[in-house]
């Protein structure tokens, strides 16, 4: 089993807002970055589960836009985890949402617990 949480997040979110790992590769808003530290769980036959606390941060100069993008990400992730395509491979649970504004840039952080099982 190969860890693919980042790939899944990117595939689901990249159509909503420019989506990057750790650091934005753009100078224009809006964009989102994500961070996570996966933890592997093993039997003697190999990895059977990977969990991670995932932090997705949406940045925008407009509060409404930031909220709309964050809501779209939440909706897309909820929909993905409920699809037959996912087939139970990923379980996502929203843990917390925080909102802040620094020098006119709004940040909405979505904290998820993610479990990959296949």
């Amino acid at each position: 089993m190969t860890e693919s949480i980042g790939i899944m997040l990117t595939n689901v979110c990249k159509g909503i807002v420019p989506f990057f790992l750790s650091e934005a590769q753009t100078e224009s808003y809006p964009y989102a970055v994500y961070e996570y530290t996966p933890q592997e769980f093993r039997t003697k036959d190999g990895i059977y589960k990977i969990t991670a606390d995932v932090y997705i941060r949406v940045y925008s100069e407009d509060a409404d836009d930031a909220e709309a993008k964050a809501a779209a990400i939440k909706e897309a992730l909820d929909a993905y985890c409920g699809t037959a395509y996912n087939n139970g491979q990923y379980i996502l649970r929203l843990q917390a949402t925080t909102e802040s504004c620094t020098e006119g840039v709004w940040q909405i952080e979505l904290q998820y617990f993610v479990k990959q099982t296949a």
Partner: protein, 146 residues
């Protein structure tokens, strides 16, 4: 002379030729059973003599169900429960204890205990645990590389 220290996943216990599905831990214990004796010639110091060994295994695994219709290549939870509930000669299973680079040991065993553990915590894994005791000889059936 080369030495090796196999990782834990290179050590396995087979029961009837199969390992447990989702196994996470396999423990071997060899305990000497001794007889204490003392004669006048021992001048007050008790003597211990090993008369046999109690060889036991404890296996832990994730509670796993193999719902494939073909013959299972590993023992799932229901296979293990069936073994644990067996009686008479059916309760005796052949076991082999393998270690990469080392000798393989074999013998017959009975299952002396089976337990399951599950909780309502989110994302917790249900687990099973199996206790076995060797009946009769437990000896090397193949030599190690060393």
């Amino acid at each position: 002379m080369a030495t090796s220290r196999p990782e834990g996943y290179n050590i396995s216990l087979t029961i009837g030729g199969k390992t447990l599905l989702g196994r996470t831990q396999e423990d071997l214990s060899i305990a000497a059973v001794t007889k204490t004796s003392i004669t006048k010639d021992d001048q007050g110091v008790q003597q211990e003599q090993v008369v046999r060994h109690d060889v036991t295994f404890k296996v832990a695994a994730l509670l796993s169900i193999d719902d494939s219709t073909s013959t299972h290549t590993k023992l799932d939870r229901d296979d293990v429960i069936a073994l644990a509930l067996a009686t008479g000669s059916s309760a005796v299973v052949a076991v082999q204890y393998l270690c990469t680079g080392g000798a393989t040991y074999g013998g017959n065993a009975i299952i002396t205990g089976y337990s399951e553990s599950s909780s309502g915590d989110v994302d917790s894994d249900a687990t099973i645990s199996l206790d076995l005791k060797i009946t009769g000889d437990f000896a090397a059936v193949t030599n190690g590389n060393g």
